[in-house]
């Protein structure tokens, strides 16, 4: 370099630069930006936690719900600090599945779990989680897909051959192995994954002894205990930043099952006007306050088909951030509708939050159907299987 040859001091400095460059073996420029690997590199300013990614719209930190199809419909994933409400289907067959997907995703990405239920022991719930499709298989599939695309494109590009020189856009981003995994519903999660994960369970019959005669107060006792439990965990493990965490920051995934059912001690499914009309809404309000000030995401399933007072359903929907409703076809007249014969139910995205945003991120597909296959839970737009040959065309040769 000409500058190097000019004077001794500058030679030494540029010499050291050259030496440093050769040590790095490529360039002395470091790449900035969030990495999904979770290592805290010195140059990146964004906190990178495993299993999260920033939203492309507003930079909000997102976690996966466990179903990549649902993530896409919700605008990339579930925002950290928000509540995902699942309105249960009539016989409660499919909503526990979404609940389990959420928890399984937490285990696979190494998040801490908090499972609360009044019906089943949380340890039993964790035993029944679906097994993740292993990363090597996923990568193998990815590679196969890319190879197929390559061979296909080699055949295709005889005319637009100049485009072959452009860098290839990958069919499936390789980083999806870190955000959003695929699960096999027919298999159980391996025991060692559960043991390696950190989880807290809240089983209501254990925490409340039923023989105590408690005087009624504005909030249900079961809910009070649950809120205290969640608050303790958040404080002790430092999810709200109160204890300075020496180790890597992590997300707390909270799952609450069957909230609002009488097993939690709530009357709203029983009568239309009851004394504890506001218990559930107060609980949700306080829960959201706890979530907003900590690194956590919550999934709740509520049997809204049993709630007698429609106003409570509307309030509960407004108090949650993201609301997804499941409607299964069992026992309804839609079971015999030929439009829906391939599917098991409809999924309604009722609400998507406006977080730090003025516009809604509403998906343009309004009617979506789901199907539980043996290994997979899929969400699709229902295809009209109607025979297209019956359409009339004035200048066509096909006769009706």
């Amino acid at each position: 370099m000409a500058a190097a040859a000019s004077c001794s001091t500058s030679t030494r400095s540029t010499g050291s630069v050259v030496v440093a460059a050769s040590r790095n073996s490529v360039t002395s420029f470091q790449r900035r930006g969030p990495r999904a690997s979770g290592t805290d590199s010195g140059c990146s300013r964004l906190v990178s936690i495993a299993g999260t990614r920033p939203s492309v719209r507003n930079g909000q930190l997102l976690v996966s719900t466990g179903l990549p199809a649902l993530d896409q419909l919700l605008g990339g994933g579930l925002a950290v600090g928000t509540v995902l409400l699942i309105e249960e289907d009539k016989y409660n067959i499919y909503s526990p599945l979404l609940f389990k997907y959420f928890l399984a995703e937490g285990i696979v990405t190494g998040h801490t779990l908090l499972v609360a239920s009044a019906k089943e022991d949380p340890a039993d719930i964790l035993q029944e989680l679906p097994a993740p499709l292993l990363d090597d298989n996923c990568k193998k599939e990815c590679d196969e897909d890319i190879c197929n695309h390559k061979t296909e494109s080699n055949i295709k590009m005889k005319i637009a051959w100049r485009y072959q020189l452009l860098p290839k856009m990958e069919a499936r981003p390789v980083s999806s192995s870190r955000f959003g995994h695929y699960y096999d519903v027919s298999k159980r999660i391996p025991q060692e994954l559960i043991e390696a994960s950190k989880w807290h369970g809240f089983f209501l019959p254990e925490k409340i002894s039923s023989t105590l005669n408690l005087e009624p107060c504005s909030l249900n006792h079961g809910y009070i205990k649950l809120l205290q439990f969640i608050q303790n965990i958040i404080y002790e493990e430092g999810f709200d930043g109160s204890n300075p965490q020496k180790k890597q920051k992590n997300i707390l995934r909270i799952g609450i099952q069957n909230l609002g059912s009488p097993l939690w001690g709530d009357d709203i499914c029983w009568t239309e006007n009851c004394d504890s009309n506001h218990s559930l809404t107060k609980f949700l309000y306080m829960l959201r306050g706890l979530l907003r000030s900590s690194l956590s995401a919550c999934i709740i399933t509520v049997p809204t088909h049993l709630i007698q007072n429609k106003a409570i359903i509307a309030r509960v929907t407004n108090l949650s951030d993201t609301v997804v409703g499941l409607e299964s076809f069992i026992g309804s007249e839609k079971e015999t509708n030929p439009l829906y014969k391939d599917y098991h139910g409809l999924i309604h995205i009722r609400q998507i939050p406006q977080l730090n945003n003025l516009i809604y991120d509403v998906s343009d597909v309004k009617d979506l159907a789901f199907k539980l296959k043996r290994k997979l839970f899929t969400i699709e737009k229902p295809r009209c299987c109607y025979n297209l040959q019956n359409r009339t065309r004035l200048c066509g040769l096909i006769r009706v």
Partner: protein, 300 residues
Amino acid sequence: MLESLLALGGLVLLRDSVEWEGRSLLKALIKKSALCGEQVHILGCEVSEEEFREGFDSNINSRLVYHDLFRDPLNWSETGETLPGGPLEALRALCRRTDPGPVTIALDSLSWLLLHLPCTTLCQTLHTLSHQDSCHGDSSPGEQVHVLGLLHEELHGPGPLGVLSSLAQTEVTLSGAMGQASAHILYRRPQQRLTHQTQWFSILPDFSLELQGGPPLEPQPYPDPRVPSMDPTTHLTFNLRLSKKEREAKDSLTLPFQFSSEKQQALLCPGLGQATSHIFYEPDAYDDLDQEDPDDDLDV
């Protein structure tokens, strides 16, 4: 499936109505489990003990443990016979029972309990009662607790009925036609799909269950009113059928690429008023068209 109702475990809800009563089915199921050697506990609230035991022979009667809440539900006579604490205490005592072996608990009836106990407490107690086997870590499937609850569905609104259906593992709704009783059974296996079945049956005078194929007379075939079939051809955005006028219009249309005589005439003789087209060509700077024929200097 009706005879294997008890093998399924958990809470079995028997929903009856004024026309089709369920107490005889309850007694038939109790008799079956008593004959299988299980312990049977009965919480009787609606009928007296003598009336309930009527029709059972003595060896079955000796196996039944009857908790009587009918005679003195509020414990006014203050003798040692009735259970202190009322129905809730009786249920909790059943929860706390520690004898091994499979047991059947019959609640006659759940409607009475619903009307006399706070609903959430009842639901929580029922849940504990039907999931008792999870407390004992080494229980085999044969040592399950079966809870049979008789519910008069006309006494309650949709709220309590919906809640109890969601709590129950199996739901049996009694109905019938032409003097023949039928049971519509809805069974929820955990983590699996819902199965349902309709079974025609009759109860013999000694309370044994007899399954039948169908009602004795052929009913008129009518579609199940619960599941009407949908016609997909309604509310379509396109036409399925052509009207007569449309059909004629379609038939008389000439196709664009068919060469008919009219078209030939039109092409050969340009009609009046049809101006012949001229092409005016002006070469621009990039065209290098010469007027000469490039083949001129070929020596062929």
